[in-house]
Amino acid sequence: MKHKERGKPMTYLSKTVILCAGLALAACSNPDRLGGAGGAGAGGAGSGAYAPGSAQDPKSPLYFQQTVGDRVLFLVDQSNLSPEAQTTLDGQAQWLMANPEFNAVIEGHADEQGTREYNVGLGARRSNAVQEYLVSRGVAPNRLKVVSYGKERPIEICSEEACYAKNRRAVTVVSVTPVS
Amino acid sequence: MNTGQIISGAGHLALIGWALFGGVFKSEPLPFEVTEVTAISGDEYAALVAPQSAPETAVDVTSPEAPDIDDSAPDLGSGTDVQPEVAQPDVAATPPPDERPEVTEVMPPADAEVSDEPPEITPPSEDVAVLAPEVAPEAQPREADRVAPEPVAQPEPDAQIDDIVQPETVPDEAAETPREETDATAPEEATTEIVTEAEEPAQAAPSKSLRPQTRPERPAEPEPVETAQPQEPAETETQTDESAVNDALAEALGGGGASETETSTPSGPPLTRGEKDALRVAVKQCWNVGSLSTDALQVTVVVGVTLDADGKPTSIQQLSATGGSGGAVSKAYEAARRAVLRCGAKGFDLPRDKYDHWRDIEMTFNPEKMRIK
């Protein structure tokens, strides 16, 4: 990846992002593990086996990010959800149902191949696709909010398909603040 | 009369009508367009007066003058509002939109200092340029981005760029310039068409012609005889198309006996097609439409030129124009005038023995092909 060659230390954000991406893929390919982790989290919430709020705490946003998987990816110009994406979103829906104090903002993003305005529209489509899926899995619509960033917030900065593929995404950001 | 003759007759009558009225329509705008040109200064005057009156209403027009921007522009100090540099400034805080200058005409009628009032330079009724006979030495080289009718290869490194190709000579009349001698000149490198970034092929030769000649130069050959008595001495009177039609008609009908106008006998036969083409080529090399507005590029202007025996223009006059409004016509005429004056500065290369045939020239400048290059 080109940005590593710049010699700058990676920011915390970058590390998190890459870790998240990796975990999301792992989660996609191994749904059983996801279910098991969820069960463990529910059972051990009060046991003190891990620090509350850490990535091991199944009720934490970090756990949601890293273990459940907070993002799904899209093909060029597309906003339909792949089977892998649906699996990830199934996990997100379960988590949100199990943690009703959390709300979520779904951020839609696009790669840089396209005009600024069109990409905002495209990001809106993607975030909406995720929202609709989560609602169809039982999450209350008033807990979800969508926002499109178009191509304004790339996560990968190279100008190659490897990066573009990761930038065409919808990211579910959970927090306890009200969505609107 | 059989049917064929009737059809033929009707067709020919239509042809006559078209010829007559076509000629009439063509010549009709002549007297009017000239006066329209004088109205232009009025237009410009109005345009200039408009901003002049602006300061009175300045209070209402809020935007650019508000001093508030100074205070509220974040982050930037106002340290650089001293004498600004002319070079591209860095990101620097400068005062908000500069105050709108008041615009006034420089010349009040009573201003004795101003020596060059327009009426002294040109007759108020017509836009006629009268030339002082000056020698124009060679031009400076021009920039490379030139579009010309024919692709021109890059000239010899030591050749001066000029509209007129000439061999290197020893100094004679160029003495008043800093240059010691007249260098060889050659037309500037040029393409036939603007090539945009989007159209550039990967490794295109810069001087490559990108489309075929729309009108190849005709070979210099004697003009074919197409009309009656071409070898006869021609009258030199200037006349409209209509009277020319009448004369031609009378001549054709009556065997040429009708017309009895005075003739100053020209010395020599009419110009050959090759000679005319040479003149055309000479003028078009100087007809620069690159600085004309889109509107002015819609205007076809007919210019009357009078040459002295050396082929240098002594007067230029706009005869008619079609295709545009006052301002556009004026700019189209000025570009045509520049073409004649610049390329005629050393005298057009025309056969001296046919002077009476080319003393008065009507040049039609038609920019149709130049609109989208």
Partner: protein, 445 residues
């Protein structure tokens, strides 16, 4: 009878031959030739330093003539002759011009001027424009009065006059550009609104960089700006008064995202995109009353609307056909007509101020282009090509297009470029920082 008729026919035939081909007509009178081809090249001009009677004024005089020259030469339509080529100097504004000296160096236009400071400390600039080869003045002399600080604007106004007197169309030098100044790496880019003179001078910031801002657009009078900001978390449209640098959010529908705003020619009507439920449609709003109404209701993305100069129509971008293309519809909504049919994706159409052309972004075969076409989609012409060009904006006279060019890769950076609508004179616009989304103001009053 028959004989006479035939004679007439013969005469008519001869007549037709002579009249329809005037070039070869041998009738007496002036020689007639038609010039139907010419050259396109920068017109050489000279602009000696404006004369002054004090040292301070002389400095201003030099600066003003330099700005005028930068304006004129920057168009690509004119070429300044260097001072060391001058044969005669202009030492007095009132003295007659030695045309022969300027002809000798092929100066086809000559601009002379004088600078002084009046009793109130006001700067007074006078100038004249000459057609050297015709030996006469183009237009009449003008005098401008303003503050000394405002000398750049006065220079731009002089250059506008010169431009207009030679070309026959209005200039664009006394104008400004609002844009998004960009700093920082691609994935953490800070964006803020900035405004500058058209030539890059006098950059000022209008917002801070705490939230993403996109695509500012001028009001018809140039006194206000519409832009999109993520200040509240989602994209919403703001109106900013340039004079007071105060802003307000437009009352678009709650729970939606709104973006891509543009003023109508009345300065009151705004068209924009609103995204709701994943669908982006066009809306218009009267910003005085806040009343809005829906213009499109297709399941596709409709965005980047731009009014015709008379306000009767809107050109916009839609992917209703499967890929983004350009459409025109009445400004109140209604049936839309597709105008782009070339290969590729079309976006961000902008109606020219002259009304005859649409500038657009085109994406084709992995490259981006800025192009122009007529309103019926004919005469498409691509002016640029690069990794990423987008977001054209027109100069006030409809002659030049400014746009965003972004370079490729991890170190990619955005900057502004301009190009003549002929495709010539492509060049960067200096902004100091990275820059995107330019919008050109109308000529200042």
């Amino acid at each position: 009878m028959m004989r006479q008729f035939l004679t007439l026919l013969t005469a008519a035939t001869l007549l037709a031959a002579s009249v329809t081909t005037p070039v070869v007509a041998q009738s007496p009178g002036p020689l007639r030739i038609e010039i139907d081809e010419g050259v396109i090249e920068p017109l050489p001009y000279a602009v000696p330093d404006f004369v002054a009677d004090t040292d301070a004024a002389a400095e201003l005089g030099r600066n003003i003539s330099r700005v005028i020259a930068a304006d004129l030469s920057g168009t690509g339509l004119f070429r300044e002759l260097p001072k060391d080529a001058f044969i005669s100097q202009i030492t007095s504004f009132a003295s007659p011009v030695q045309y022969a000296d300027w002809k000798a160096i092929n100066a086809q236009a000559l601009i002379t001027g004088a600078v002084s400071v009046d009793g109130n400390g006001r700067l007074v600039v006078q100038f004249r424009v000459y057609d050297v080869f015709a030996g006469q003045e183009l237009g009449q002399g003008l005098q401008l009065t303003g503050t000394q600080d405002g000398w750049r604007r006065m220079a731009h106004k002089v250059a506008d006059q010169v431009y207009s007197r030679i070309t026959g169309e209005g200039g664009y030098f006394d104008s400004r550009v609002v844009f998004v100044a960009e700093t920082g790496p691609k994935d953490q880019r800070a964006k803020r609104l900035a405004i500058m003179d058209y030539d890059g001078a006098n950059v000022k910031y209008l917002t801070d960089s705490s939230s993403i801002v996109l695509a500012p657009r001028f009001s018809p009078k140039g006194d206000r700006i519409l832009y999109t900001s993520y200040e509240t978390g989602e994209p919403r449209i703001y109106e900013l008064n340039i004079g007071s640098v105060t802003r307000r959010v437009l009352p678009t529908q709650a729970g939606t995202m709104s973006f891509a705003p543009r003023f109508g020619p009345d300065g009151q009507t705004v068209v924009y995109s609103q995204a709701q439920g994943g669908n982006t449609d066009l809306f218009s709003m009267n910003i005085a009353t806040g009343a809005s109404n829906r213009l499109t209701s297709a399941p596709s993305i409709e965005t980047a609307p731009s009014f015709s100069p008379d306000g009767s129509q809107i050109v916009f971008e839609s992917d209703r056909s499967g890929s983004p293309q350009l459409y025109v519809m009445p400004s109140g909504g209604g049936e839309a007509r597709r105008i782009s049919f070339g290969q590729g994706r079309y976006g961000t159409p902008v109606w020219s101020p002259r009304g005859d052309l649409v500038a657009f972004t085109k994406q084709s075969k992995g490259r981006f282009h800025i192009g122009v076409m007529r309103l019926d989609g004919s005469e498409e012409r691509l002016l640029t090509a690069s990794f990423l060009d987008e977001g054209p904006t027109w100069s006030p006279n409809g002659r030049v297009i400014m746009f965003t060019r972004e370079t490729q890769g991890a170190s990619g950076k955005a900057s502004l470029y301009s190009v003549d609508i002929s495709g010539r004179n492509l060049k960067p616009v200096q902004t100091g920082t990275g820059a995107s989304d330019p919008a050109w103001s109308p000529l200042q009053q």
